[in-house]
């Protein structure tokens, strides 16, 4: 019962490496290195990387920018609550507000164009989850996170919250249109 007894050899560190173990350690190490190189590789050659661009700001400042955008680019309103649907020009800054318990406003984007989408929470943590694309990003209060996004296919998408944010967390969902 050796694993629960002191090693039989007092100088156990000089015991030669077993062939099975040696082979496996080398293979496993190579595989770990490959997994490491995949991340920088994707930064250079892949198209899906999370932006490093983020700014500290306050809810008031962020909300004002969002309101300015909504005032300029609203095309219609939806639902009983008259949530504005905003169609900002390609390449522009698009502000999405996360708060208890809604996403605001509704965005309408064009396929094949890219947009600088800003994400920030007004209160607690939220989770931006775009379905059915299944892109998931953490949304913090006080951190304006800027992603350059290029929708590929036209359709009606949903944004749901996937970070628990209190009792009505499961009601926090919105739409995103791609034309």
């Amino acid at each position: 019962m050796s694993a629960i007894l002191p090693p039989e050899d007092r100088v156990w560190w000089k015991q030669p490496l077993d062939r099975v173990e040696g082979t496996w350690v080398v293979i496993a190490l190579i595989w770990c290195l490959i997994m490491f190189f995949m991340m920088p590789y994707w930064h250079v050659f892949g198209k899906q990387n999370l932006a490093n661009e983020a700014y500290r700001t306050t809810p008031e400042v962020y909300m004002k920018k969002a309101q300015d955008m909504v005032d300029k680019f609203t095309v219609r309103t939806e639902t009983d609550q008259k949530i504005p649907v905003v169609a900002p020009p390609a390449g522009s800054d698009v502000y999405l507000v996360a708060r208890l318990w809604s996403w605001w406003p509704i965005l309408e984007l064009e396929a094949g164009k890219s947009y600088r989408i800003h994400l920030m929470s007004m209160d607690w943590l939220h989770g931006f989850s775009l379905q059915p694309e299944n892109i998931n990003i953490q949304v913090h209060p006080g951190y304006d996170h800027v992603l350059t996004v290029q929708p590929t296919r036209a359709g009606t998408y949903s944004i749901i919250c996937n970070e628990y944010c209190g009792i009505n967390h499961h009601t926090m969902s919105s739409k995103l249109y791609v034309k």
Partner: protein, 574 residues
């Protein structure tokens, strides 16, 4: 001060128990099992609510149950059991008295007090903030204070363990180096001290914030430091359950490590690198650069992954060598076919090993890749992953060890032995299926910690595909199987410990310290090693294990690149 040295030798295993240590182990094990019972009832509520066809609880109760389930299982059940393991790996395996049993009891009662306080805060309905309690969402101050007291108690347990190592060394109760299992327990203890320190750094300010003494807790700072606690605590589990695997391999088969150097080196990698890997929880967060994310999830995490891959080979490898030496030397897999599959100690341990590696390990590394995290973060894939690691891996390993401890530590006959034979299969396979279906649902975007994926009554609902609903229903069915398996474990353990006939130990009687001091037991003489057993095939002593490891590696590689392929189809982001 009189040194209390009361020992008994277990007649069936030859293990030596120090009586005060034995009492502490029993107390911690009982507290662990009670937590498992509470957590298991909560699990039933959670899983029946996420099955949309049943949708058992109201949202406030669901979020309350989920918070309590996280704390009671992930913290209380596991850490109570781990402290028992620390005492076993030090006092029992080193055949030495436990250092400062009185202080150890202080630690125990602090843990109990903290556990009750935290659960009180949750069940009062004021702290449904989930196990992670992300600020700026606030809980009742008792929620944080309970966790802090519990952590202080656990920290005392860690230092009693370290003190016991010092006692054993000073009193020369063993020769040479400490056993591998104790080495693994030292690893767990060192990681635990780091974990508790991180917990203190974040929970103390958060507690002060909850009572109004600190003005602001930054959400990103909270997540960064909290995961130094939240993830590292899972690494305590990994180090502990890997030690339990080695212990069970030694107990059931008399297996010895293939080489001490490799196994201990792998534990050392855990100490050096595992904690830093907690950065992989922040891969989808703003404000941290890609360089930071890659650095922390690559060199740190992959060296720890390497260590787990090594243990994943050396544990079954050691069993294979032991079996081959017993004569099961034919073909690649005779050793495995002839293994005692009807012995729950072995069956549970082996299912734990396979489930942890194939389900928990592969999914964990995939999620921990910076870009791949985008298609996984906060979906129900994440609980799928950690139910494979912490339930199939840790909990099942601890359950298997319990079947060994009932006669040895509690000195009771095990009740319902037939039921016990089936328990690891029902629980292990049920839980594996549960984890797998959750991962399936997560791949389809189903969020974790979500009361209603039908978005009933919502002005802008999202309709999940039918496959996602099917996955969630299957998750619930598998979850029910696992809950039944867990209930059988509780029935056998509680029944045996409290109601089964005693196992008589010859020459054992309780001695009070005042009645005199027994001499310290003599150390066991080290046997002469025979290192090159004449077994195996093609120059490999454990060829079957190597083949299994290759199957694992190929599954790993395929699954890893399938996910890159999937990522390449989503919207370009930069």
């Amino acid at each position: 001060m009189a040194v209390n040295r009361m020992f008994r030798t277990c007649p069936s295993t030859g293990l030596l128990f120090h009586e005060p240590a034995e009492k502490l182990m029993k107390a911690h094990a009982v507290a662990a099992v009670v937590s498992l019972l509470v957590g298991g009832i909560l699990a039933l509520g959670v899983t029946l609510t996420r099955w949309q066809a049943v949708h058992l609880l109201s949202p406030d109760w669901f979020y309350l149950f989920l918070t309590a389930h996280g704390v009671d299982m992930l913290v209380l059940w596991i850490i109570f059991f781990e402290i028992a393991i620390l005492y076993f790996a030090s006092s029992t395996l080193l055949r030495c008295r436990l250092a400062t049993p009185g202080l150890a009891w202080v630690g125990f009662w602090l843990m109990i007090l903290g556990a009750i306080m935290n659960n009180y805060a949750i069940f009062s309905g004021t702290s449904s903030v989930m196990f992670t309690s992300y600020a700026p969402m606030g809980a009742h101050p008792a929620f944080y204070l309970g966790l802090i007291l519990f952590a202080v108690g656990a920290l005392i347990g860690c230092f009693v363990f370290l003190g016991t190592l010092v006692v054993a060394k000073a009193e020369r109760t063993y020769n040479g180096s400490i056993p591998l299992v104790t080495f693994g327990a030292v690893t767990a203890c060192i990681i635990a001290v780091f974990t508790i320190a991180s917990g203190a750094i974040i929970l103390i300010p958060t507690f002060l914030w909850s009572v109004g003494l600190v003005e602001h807790i930054d959400s990103l700072m909270y997540r960064t430091v909290w995961w130094g606690f939240g993830h590292s605590s899972q690494q305590i589990n990994v180090a502990a359950h890997v030690s339990v695997w080695y212990a069970i391999a030694a107990i059931v088969f008399g297996a010895k490590p293939m080489s001490e150097k490799v196994s201990r080196g792998a534990f050392l990698l855990y100490i050096l690198f595992l904690q830093l890997a907690s950065a992989h929880h922040l891969l989808a967060d703003p404000g941290l650069t890609s360089n930071w994310k890659i650095f922390n999830t690559s060199y740190a995490m992959y060296l720890a992954v390497l260590a787990s891959m090594v243990h994943g080979l050396t544990v079954p490898g050691a069993i294979e060598v032991a079996q081959r030496e017993k004569g099961y030397n034919r073909g690649l897999f005779e050793w495995l076919r002839k293994a005692p599959w009807g012995n729950p100690v072995f069956a549970g341990m082996f299912i734990s090993l396979i489930g942890f590696g194939f389900l928990g390990g592969i999914s964990g590394v995939m999620m921990g890749t910076e870009q791949l995290n985008l298609i996984i973060h906060n979906t129900i894939y994440v609980p799928g992953h950690f139910h494979a690691t912490v339930v199939v891996g840790t909990t099942l390993a601890f359950m298997s060890l319990t079947y060994f401890l009932i006669p040895v530590l509690f000195r009771r006959k095990m009740l319902f032995p037939k039921l016990a034979q089936w328990q690891p299969y029902l629980f292990g396979l049920g839980m594996s299926a549960f984890a797998l279906f959750m991962m399936g649902a997560g791949t389809l975007g189903v969020p974790r910690r979500h009361w209603d994926i039908s978005f009933a009554g919502n002005a802008m609902p999202y309709e999940f595909p039918g496959a996602a609903w099917l996955m969630m229903a299957l998750t619930a069915l598998a979850g029910l199987a696992a809950v039944v398996g867990g209930a059988i474990y509780l029935l056998i353990t509680v029944g045996s410990v409290f109601f089964a006939p005693r196992v008589d130990v010859p020459d054992f009687k309780h001695v009070r310290a005042a009645e005199g001091i027994a001499p310290a037991p003599a150390p066991v003489a080290a046997a002469i090693a025979a290192h090159h057993p004449n077994v195996g095939m093609a120059g490999f002593v454990a060829p079957g294990t190597l083949v299994l490891a290759m199957v694992f590696l190929i599954s790993f590689i395929l699954y890893y690149f399938v996910n890159w392929k999937y990522l390449s189809t989503v919207w370009p982001l930069s």
